[in-house]
């Protein structure tokens, strides 16, 4: 896969289709690749890396890249293409400045899961014949990719690219039975007190680093209200547990109907807070109340929360705790 991607990058740079390439560059270890922009074939040759640990959704970087001028090639996994479409729908990126190469995805690996298996002192990871060989200073270990697959990939909603200029690998299908709302259903089945306890237990670990917001492709405000010192709610610390909760709840409301469920918020959280569950609750509710809707699937679709119809559900009909 990596070689095919590099070859396309060389060719598209060479023939002038694109001026830059957005991908991933090698890390210090086998699993810590960093998103990077490559400006010529030499940079691609020396730095470009793609493997199962290249998990970052690159769509949001295009907001900045579209302002830099020229045309940029971006490699997008199926789930990333939904974010891309949503950014297009919101006029945050310019389609004609971007060349999208869709890449087939088999699910990303989570190095935390490898470490949780008790594998320590990792010096290298190679993939061959459906097995990862993890080299450590204590010897090699063979593990199955399925055992260390990122949580979000276990509930992958789509192997289909909803937008691309060309594809590398095979095109997949939308995954109908992805079970991504299972945990939401469990939370809904809880009593309000149990649910409150669950979320306090999770959100009390928040350190307000804003990684979830800053990585989120739906969070593209020029200045977030939590960064505005005059707003009274600026971001540097939560004074109390109320603020700790509200930061995440307000953010979830703000991206409701726009969140494509890419899962980046939970992936980057340094405290492993399952933030995606807040967004999934809203997605499930939108599906229930307004009919199935997948943000980013069709950039021309009218968003359910952005239009009004006479037979829209009334707040009282929506249910919820009546206490």
């Amino acid at each position: 896969m990596q070689e095919m991607m590099k070859n396309r990058a060389y060719a598209l740079l060479e023939n002038g289709t694109v001026d830059r390439v957005l991908g991933w560059t090698r890390g210090e270890f086998a699993y810590d690749m960093t998103p990077a922009v490559f400006r010529n074939a030499d940079e691609v040759k020396n730095g470009f890396v793609y493997n199962d640990f290249c998990a970052a959704n690159l769509s949001k970087y295009l907001v900045k890249e579209c302002r830099a001028g020229g045309k940029i090639l971006v490699f997008l996994k199926p789930c990333d293409t939904y974010s891309f479409n949503q950014l297009l729908a919101e006029h945050r990126i310019k389609r004609d400045m971007i060349y999208v190469v869709g890449i087939e995805c088999f699910g990303k690996a989570d190095v935390e899961k490898i470490k949780e298996m008790g594998i320590e002192g990792i010096t290298g990871i190679t993939a061959k014949d459906g097995i990862y060989t993890v080299s450590t200073i204590y010897g090699d270990k063979a593990i199955k990719p399925a055992d260390v697959m990122a949580e979000r990939c276990l509930a992958c909603k789509s192997k289909k690219h909803v937008v691309y200029d060309e594809l590398i690998g095979n095109e997949g299908e939308v995954v109908e039975d992805c079970n991504r709302f299972d945990m939401v259903a469990k939370l809904e089945a809880m009593t309000p007190d149990e649910r409150y306890e669950f979320w306090r237990g999770e959100l009390s670990r928040c350190i307000r680093c804003n990684a979830c917001r800053n990585i989120c492709p739906a969070c593209t405000c020029e200045q977030c209200i939590f960064d505005n010192p005059n707003s009274g709610v600026s971001q540097k610390a939560a004074v109390n547990s109320f603020e700790e909760n509200m930061f995440h709840i307000i953010r979830a409301f703000h991206v409701a109907g726009r969140c494509t469920d890419c899962g980046e918020c939970s992936r980057v959280c340094p405290q492993n807070i399952p933030l995606h569950l807040l967004n999934r609750k809203f997605i499930k509710d939108v599906n229930t109340f307004y009919g199935d809707y997948q943000a980013g699937e069709d950039p021309t679709a009218k968003p359910p929360l952005g239009k009004y119809e006479k037979n829209d559900i009334e707040p009282g009909e929506a249910g919820g705790a009546k206490e």
């Binding site: 890390g27 210090e28 270890f29 810590d32 690749m33 960093t34 998103p35 990077a36 922009v37 970052a56 970087y61 949780e116 320590e120 002192g121 990792i122 010096t123 200073i137 237990g201 999770e202 670990r205 350190i207 307000r208 680093c209 804003n210 990684a211 917001r213 800053n214 990585i215 200045q223 960064d227 010192p229 009274g232 600026s234 971001q235 540097k236 610390a237 939560a238 004074v239 992936r267 980057v268 340094p270 405290q271 492993n272």
Partner: protein
């Protein structure tokens, strides 16, 4: 050298906790270690390190500095400081223990920060030598020995218990207060544990890493390097690196309006944030490349310049493990220092 048998570990914790608050690493609900207050039944985490560093004990994320009460045209200023109670932090690693000296160099020099000093004076630090350092560890780069951490008391895990050595008066007092649970310890067991740790450290990928290409007197050489642009290109401008860092020490002071008064508090700040050191005229660093450069120049050049070459990093590896885009101080130092 004293020895605590494995069977007496809980009695040891109970004896300390009977007199003062005791904090130690405990696994949270997602299986990561946090410093948590000990109560009967609390089990110590086996994790190499906590997600948040031990700096929280002396430099908490938020703290109240003073209160203002307003009545008509009168403003009353209330000193909200209280004398901190004695406490013990158990299980601090060598890296975090070394970070306290860096925080001290900021907060205990004139003008002394009384809030910080209060906590430092009342806290007893019990460090624990690392048994199995990880690939993200590079404390050795800064002359820190994972097998021989500083602190008031140093603890080594051995086959059938723990070896303890008091390093300071506070440490002596702690061991004296728990003397009936301790027996005489053999230095040889410690030496064996140390040799094992050092052998692992030497095999890890970052063993032998030096920061020679950065450091004292390099401001002019490094400030305008073109690599800053590429290094910072995908930085999200979040505060993860700053907030998990044991040596990051910047804070902001804010007022919280309570309705009939003001609580003036300080909270951790991050130079990665767009409103860091925001002044009346605006911001002094308008782009992420400038903010990113500030964070690393501070740790790699400005701090060493003012502190006899000591880097503002202790090699704990938290930023290596936690940065959402996997950019970190090792990559920066290697790129700038040509050490690849």
């Amino acid at each position: 050298m004293k020895k605590l048998s494995l069977a007496k570990l809980n009695d040891f914790f109970a004896a300390i906790a009977a007199k003062q608050a005791l904090y130690l690493p405990v696994n949270n609900k997602v299986g990561k270690a946090d410093f948590t207050k000990w109560t009967a039944g609390t089990e110590m985490s086996k994790a190499l390190n906590t997600v948040r560093s031990a700096k929280d004990f002396f430099f908490p994320q938020t703290e109240n500095l003073m209160d203002f009460k307003m009545e008509g045209k009168n403003i009353e200023v209330i000193d909200s400081r209280e004398e901190c109670e004695d406490f013990v932090v158990f299980g601090v690693r060598a890296c975090d223990a070394a970070s306290f000296a860096i925080l001290d160099s900021v907060y205990l020099v004139d003008p002394v920060d009384s809030y910080y000093k209060n906590r430092r004076e009342h806290g007893t630090v019990v460090t624990m030598a690392c048994g199995k350092p990880a690939e993200t560890c590079f404390c050795g780069t800064f002359g820190i020995d994972a097998a021989n951490p500083a602190g008031d008391v140093t603890v080594w895990e051995v086959a059938d218990g723990y070896m303890l050595r008091a390093n300071t008066e506070k440490g002596e007092a702690l061991l004296a207060a728990t003397a009936d649970l301790l027996e005489a310890g053999d230095e040889k067991a410690v030496e064996a544990a140390q040799a094992k740790t050092r052998e692992i450290m030497a095999k890890l990928p970052l063993a032998g890493l030096t920061f020679d290409g950065v450091g004292v007197g390099k401001t002019k050489e490094l400030f305008d390097r073109p690599e800053w642009k590429t290094l910072s290109e995908s930085c999200l401008g979040c505060g993860t690196c700053t907030f998990v860092c044991p040596t990051c020490q910047c804070y902001d002071v804010r007022d919280f309006d309570t309705g009939n008064g003001i609580k003036r508090f300080r909270c951790w700040d991050s130079c990665m944030y767009s409103d860091f050191t925001l002044m009346a005229h605006g911001n002094s660093r308008n782009s992420q490349v400038e903010r990113f450069r500030q964070r690393f120049m501070h740790k790699l050049v400005y701090y060493p310049d003012r502190n006899n070459g000591t880097f503002g990093c202790v090699g704990c590896g938290r930023c290596l493990a936690r940065c959402p885009i996997s950019m970190n101080i090792v990559k920066v130092a290697k790129t700038l220092g040509g050490n690849k």
